[in-house]
């Protein structure tokens, strides 16, 4: 249904707009180092409360913020085994090309399908609104992509089986 999806995306969008307040913060422990604090979690005073937004039992979104970085982890709906495999392969394909996306994380956080890591440098180079729109657009498009892939797999399987079995007729 469109309406619960719209509410879910609106909630994530508002939370991201509030949470994306990043500034440069050199590492406190090591001189001349600058690390994304949300990944290391060494100093609790630099971290904000993580927020988990669930749409239902299968889909959820974890947003963790710190002073200079923000991590968004998504779990996508997977109805059956085939969708499970397709999601894993498709998102692994994207994650391996994380350099091209810049804000993507190479490995998803444990328990989720895909993760984004946004640092203060990204916020300086790119517009905050556009980053948030990208993430929301990504979430909308993922569902469409997975269902398209599923349909094409089923169609191909059917065509191949028909052709193969023709020789026995």
């Amino acid at each position: 249904m469109a309406n619960p999806l719209r509410l879910y995306l609106a909630c994530i969008k508002n939370t991201l707009e509030a949470a994306m307040c990043l500034q440069n913060f050199p590492c406190q422990e090591v001189e001349r180092h600058n690390k994304p604090e949300v990944e290391l979690k060494t100093s609790p005073e630099l971290l904000l409360n993580p927020v988990l937004i669930c749409r239902n039992e299968a889909e959820k979104c974890l947003i963790e913020t710190s002073i200079n970085s923000l991590r968004i982890s998504l779990k996508v709906k997977q109805a059956d085994e085939l969708e499970n495999i397709l999601t894993k392969k498709f998102l692994r394909f994207l994650s391996m090309r994380a350099e091209a996306f810049q804000v993507l994380r190479r490995k998803p956080v444990q328990g989720y399908d895909i993760s984004f890591l946004i640092t203060n440098y990204h916020c300086e180079e790119m517009q905050k609104q556009k980053l948030i729109d990208f993430i929301i657009q990504f979430m909308e498009d993922i569902e469409k992509e997975i269902s398209e892939l599923k349909i094409s797999v089923n169609t191909r399987g059917r065509l191949v089986a028909t052709e193969f079995l023709k020789q026995f007729m």
């Binding site: 619960p4 509410l7 879910y8 609106a10 909630c11 508002n14 939370t15 707009e17 509030a18 949470a19 307040c21 609790p44 971290l47 904000l48 409360n49 927020v51 988990l52 937004i53 669930c54 749409r55 239902n56 039992e57 959820k60 913020t65």
Partner: protein, 133 residues
């Protein structure tokens, strides 16, 4: 030792208070006054306790009142501004449960509350590490 004993007694007192509150809320819900019920539930929120049981007990009470709300606009009209922050914290707790009806209700209220209270409310909720719900 005395401090530890005192802390334990305090938690018990808070849980007893929450139980009296929940009976009051049940009666209010029976009279079809869900807005009043929510106000009562949010009022005695014990933010400074570290005890998980108090927080869970209060969450159960607030959850009951939240699920009974049908008219969200009216509820937000009747609620005082100082309760917006606490309500937002409870909404995020509801969203983290993953239970479908709770999440639906919380998402609806979250949208309307953000329109009224703005992004500052969300940010206060994220940054307040001392008074968690």
């Amino acid at each position: 030792m005395a401090g530890g004993g005192g802390g334990f007694v305090e938690a018990e007192a808070i849980i007893a208070r929450i139980e009296t509150k929940s009976t009051k809320i049940e009666s209010l819900l029976k009279q079809y006054k869900p807005v009043e019920a929510l106000k009562t539930a949010l009022e005695g929120s014990p933010p400074k306790t570290l005890d998980e049981r108090c927080k869970s007990a209060n969450w159960i009470v607030v959850h009951r009142a939240l699920m009974a709300i049908k008219d969200i606009e009216g509820m937000l009209n009747a609620l005082d501004v100082e309760y917006y922050d606490i309500l937002m914290k409870y909404l995020y707790r509801g969203l983290s449960t993953g239970d479908r009806p709770t999440c639906d209700q919380c998402l609806k209220i979250h949208e309307k509350l953000t329109e009224r209270a703005g992004l500052g409310c969300i940010l206060r909720c994220l940054s307040d590490t001392l008074n968690t719900v």
